[in-house]
């Protein structure tokens, strides 16, 4: 009943809104700039011949936080998949100060362009009761294959704020596809069955994103020449941005130097209210 009334009213209200909105053009004088703003971004406009790259390093200086060992004693089949006892992945450093699991992406500079949604899926694997990868990027609307390679119960509980959430159970080896239609950096994912399992998914509406490897290296390839704001996101150290100019066929250098002092910085995320950390930012204690 209420739904039908709601529809009726919505229709009536929509018509009235259109009439008001449609008044803009008729008033005269306002057509030009409104038209410019409405122009649809061009489809896949990148000319490979002129494209350049962004490449560089993500590093960390200071004392690296100790990552706690994960007790998988209750999950023998997972524990046996690890030759050395697995540790939490909130901070993963590498040789020469490299910082892994940093999501690097073009934050500004691509607004006029539109990119097709990839038809191939990215995979978020659950293997040995760990998410692999721990930090994952995908394009808006792109399929994310949630894969259970453990054959025991996992649930994949994603808590975005700009997208709708999901919480899917996978009691056996299986794949389940989900997608986030709206750009959002970052979306936390957790397994409630195994409290130590967390992952983060970055959703952007273009293909220029990457996750730093354990050596801290990162690159964004095939960018059209222009000015960009590049952001680097880390789950404990927050974000850093860098302005770069990509020239035709050139490689713009980036360098993100995270430091010990940044621990506890605000981490942009659809994050939960955490009474234990009343400033609203869930900073994992170790």
């Amino acid at each position: 009943m209420i739904e039908r009334f709601g529809e009726l009213r919505n229709t009536a209200l929509l018509v009235s809104v259109f009439v008001i909105a449609g008044c803009g053009g008729g008033g005269g004088g306002g057509g030009a700039d409104a038209g410019a703003a409405d122009a649809a971004p061009a489809e896949s406009p990148v000319d490979a011949a002129t494209a350049g790259n962004v490449a560089g390093m993500v590093t960390f200086t200071g004392t690296a936080p100790m990552m706690a060992e994960i007790n998988m004693g209750s999950e023998a089949s997972c524990a046996s998949k690890h030759s050395t006892p697995p540790t939490e992945e909130g901070f993963v450093g590498g040789a020469d100060g490299g910082l892994a699991n940093v999501f690097v992406y073009v934050k500004e500079g691509l607004e006029s362009l539109s990119f097709p949604t990839p038809t191939s899926a990215v995979v978020l694997n659950q293997d040995g009761c760990m998410y692999s990868p721990h930090v994952l990027g995908a394009q808006a609307g792109q399929d994310i294959t949630l894969r259970n390679s453990d054959g025991i119960l996992h649930n994949i509980n994603a808590s975005p704020t700009e997208n709708r959430p999901f919480n899917v159970s996978q009691p056996v080896n299986m794949d389940t596809n989900r997608a986030f239609p709206v750009a959002e950096v970052m979306i936390p994912v957790r397994c409630d069955v195994h409290g130590w399992m967390t992952a983060y998914v970055g959703i952007v509406d273009h293909p220029y994103f990457a996750v730093s490897g354990s050596d801290g290296s990162v690159s964004l390839d095939g960018l059209p020449p222009g000015d960009y704001v590049i952001e680097a996101w880390h789950e404990q150290l927050g974000t850093m941005t860098s302005n770069v100019t990509v020239t035709t066929g050139g490689t713009a250098e980036i360098s993100f130097e995270f430091t010990e002092a940044m621990a506890g910085s605000p981490v942009p995320m659809g994050e939960p209210i955490d009474l234990l950390h009343p400033d609203g930012h869930q900073v994992v204690d170790h």
């Binding site: 009726l8 803009g24 025991i152 056996v172 234990l276």
Partner: protein, 612 residues
């Protein structure tokens, strides 16, 4: 750029030019749009006014679930700004339909602080609320959600339940809910909801407390949709992927339903201790006597009378069974508690509970991890006229006599208390109660045994047939409970069954014989009155006066009614002393006698009247 930013920045650089005429037309249409729905009752009610008056106290004026009362609740009030609704007919992560929101407002959410509003608010007010709640999140500006097709429930029965039990193992429900479904699975102590608050795993043996409803169709719905915002996921995808069939999922729902009693347990004021005549008093929890002994349901609630208060009791009820053998009383108390406190696996959960409940009461717990505890409470002495001590362990005028069991110590001890927190342990020489305890599959069972009469001057003597006030208190240490912060019941009565008096066996046949005799008399009387019975002396028949017949008939009626009253007294005594079968038969006899007595009275009245 986020969608939210898109929404807000949309108008700022577009700057459309509006002509006055056009705006007037638009506003006119807007008015027509609002008026064009004569049946829409919500138009007359301001949802915000209703919300601010009735909902904001818990959910907050801004809808973020942080109203003034929110700190006394776990699970916390819904945060409407997230548009996460547990009880829906739509897929995981999807918005609820208007009907879904309406249903929760009308019916409330079992097992939470959310009451039903159907009897409080008008339909128009509730419809207006539904619309208003949706304004807290921009997600509702999109397309309305589509409900899932749930099909029809499969028929239940033993086969479905057996298959459901297999599915429970296959899809590993036990990881959180435990092998017996009591919410004690290995993952249970690590669970948080989407807003970071600790969350209990549902105890599947208490379906009247299921958030999404406890019947088979409702359980199936939750399996399909999940409970958004909680760790409970959807199981739709594994049906789609062919891991299990839809029928399997229905069987799982039937199995989960079968873990709870068929009916929500009713609360009886009297707990009867059956008298054992040919079996010895059970000295163990495993004794088969308990399988044949009635269980009494005693609900508990948080102690919120004196500070520090406790709004989040883990123990919501205890089940009580009692027997005695004329010498000793055995009392078996069982309740759901996922852990044997203190259990280090639950330490983190307990401290989260304590932090979340954020009590500012003086002396409030700041940490968890004390022992589990149960107190059985009696008056120190029985008073005339059933006056009972204050239910929080008595006061100076009427002390309470208590049995205390603690999980870390084992055994039990007797105390005298003159108010909560004043319990003084009786000297060792005066300790007579014995206790054994067992924790298995998320359930405590504690067996108390005590002589009916201990001979102790301060101990309450128990006498068969006498109603003794009895109350319970329970604490879950791993839930941050200790001291005044625990769960408590009101007073109940414990009645010890009596040996069946000889009269019980003699009286019913006598009463039946008398009934038969009087029945014959009345029949004969009626036949005399109607001339059916051939009296040899016609003159004598003529002499019989109507007055005499009337007296006789009335007399019989009154006697029968008197006997009916006697039978009623016997029946009541039977019920109250635990001889329900005798009570039942006396009730039948009493009913028959009452009918016969009334029949005699009415019949006599009719006959003597018409004969005038």
């Amino acid at each position: 750029m986020s969608a939210l930013q898109n929404f807000s920045s949309h108008d700022s650089h577009k700057k459309p030019h509006l002509s006055p005429q056009c705006v007037v037309l638009g506003i006119l249409l807007l008015g027509v749009g609002l008026l064009a729905i004569p049946g829409d009752a919500t138009a007359q009610v301001d949802g915000q006014v209703v919300y601010d008056q009735w909902c904001a106290g818990c959910h907050g004026e801004d809808g973020a679930g942080e109203g003034p009362a929110a700190n006394t609740m776990l699970p916390r009030p819904r945060d409407f700004t997230l548009a996460l609704y547990q009880v829906r007919t739509t897929g995981s992560g999807q918005l609820p339909t208007d009907e879904d929101i309406l249903k929760v407002i009308n019916d409330g959410m079992p097992g939470t602080a959310m009451p039903g509003w159907e009897d409080v608010l008008t339909e128009a007010e509730i419809l207006a609320l539904v619309d208003y709640l949706k304004t807290f999140s921009r997600f509702f500006q999109g397309d309305p959600p589509t409900p899932l097709d749930f099909g029809r429930a499969t028929s239940g029965g033993e086969d479905a339940i057996a298959r459901g039990e297999e599915v429970y193992q296959t899809v590993e429900c036990w990881r959180c809910h435990g092998q017996q479904g009591r919410g004690d699975g290995e993952s249970a102590p690590t669970l948080n909801d989407d807003t970071g608050f600790p969350i209990f795993t549902a105890d599947l043996t208490e379906n009247w407390r299921f958030n999404g409803g406890g019947e088979v169709e409702e359980i199936y719905r939750v399996l399909r949709t999940g409970l958004d915002g909680t760790p409970m996921p959807t199981f739709s995808d594994i049906v789609d992927a062919g891991v299990i069939t839809d029928e399997d999922l229905w069987s799982l729902a039937h199995y989960v339903r079968s873990l709870s009693p068929e009916e929500e347990p009713s609360v009886e004021e009297v707990v009867t201790a059956r008298l054992l005549t040919d079996t010895p008093l059970p000295q163990t929890i495993e004794d088969v006597v308990w399988e044949e002994t009635e269980r009494f349901y005693v609900p508990l609630s948080g102690q919120i009378v004196v500070q520090p208060r406790w709004f989040n009791p883990r123990v919501d009820a205890v089940w009580v069974q009692a027997v005695h053998d004329g010498q000793e009383l055995a009392l078996l108390v069982s309740w759901g508690d996922p852990s044997e406190s203190p259990d280090t696996l639950w330490t983190e959960f307990g401290s989260q509970v304590v932090a979340t409940m954020g009590s500012e009461d003086q002396g409030a717990a700041t940490s968890s991890g004390t022992a589990d505890q149960l107190v059985v409470q009696f008056p120190q002495e029985l008073s005339e006229g059933q006056e009972r001590p204050y239910f929080l362990q008595g006061d100076t005028r009427r002390p309470a006599y208590t049995w205390t069991w603690q999980s870390d110590v084992g055994g039990a001890f007797e105390s005298i208390a003159r108010g909560i927190g004043t319990a003084a342990r009786q000297p060792d020489a005066e300790q007579h109660v014995r206790a054994t305890a067992q924790h298995a599959d998320g359930q405590w069972k504690v067996l108390f045994v005590r002589p009916l009469d201990t001979g102790g001057a301060e101990d309450l003597a128990l006498t068969a047939g006498q109603a003794v006030p009895m109350a319970f208190q329970a604490w879950d240490g791993d839930n941050g409970e200790s001291g005044n912060q625990g769960a408590i019941s009101t007073w109940y009565f414990l009645v010890l069954g009596q040996p069946t008096p000889v009269a019980v066996y003699v009286a019913p046949p006598v009463a039946l014989a008398l009934t038969l005799l009087f029945g014959l008399l009345v029949v004969r009387q009626a036949q005399v009155g109607s001339g059916m019975w051939q009296e040899p002396d016609a003159a004598a028949r003529a002499k019989r006066s109507a007055q005499k017949r009337k007296l006789a008939g009335m007399g019989v009626g009154v006697i029968w009614l008197g006997m009916a009253f006697g039978a009623y007294q016997n029946s009541r005594a039977g019920w109250e002393t635990g001889y329900a079968d005798l009570g039942f038969w006396w009730a039948i006899i009493g009913g028959l006698l009452a009918i016969a007595g009334l029949g005699a009275l009415i019949g006599t009245w009719i006959h003597t009247r018409t004969s005038k």
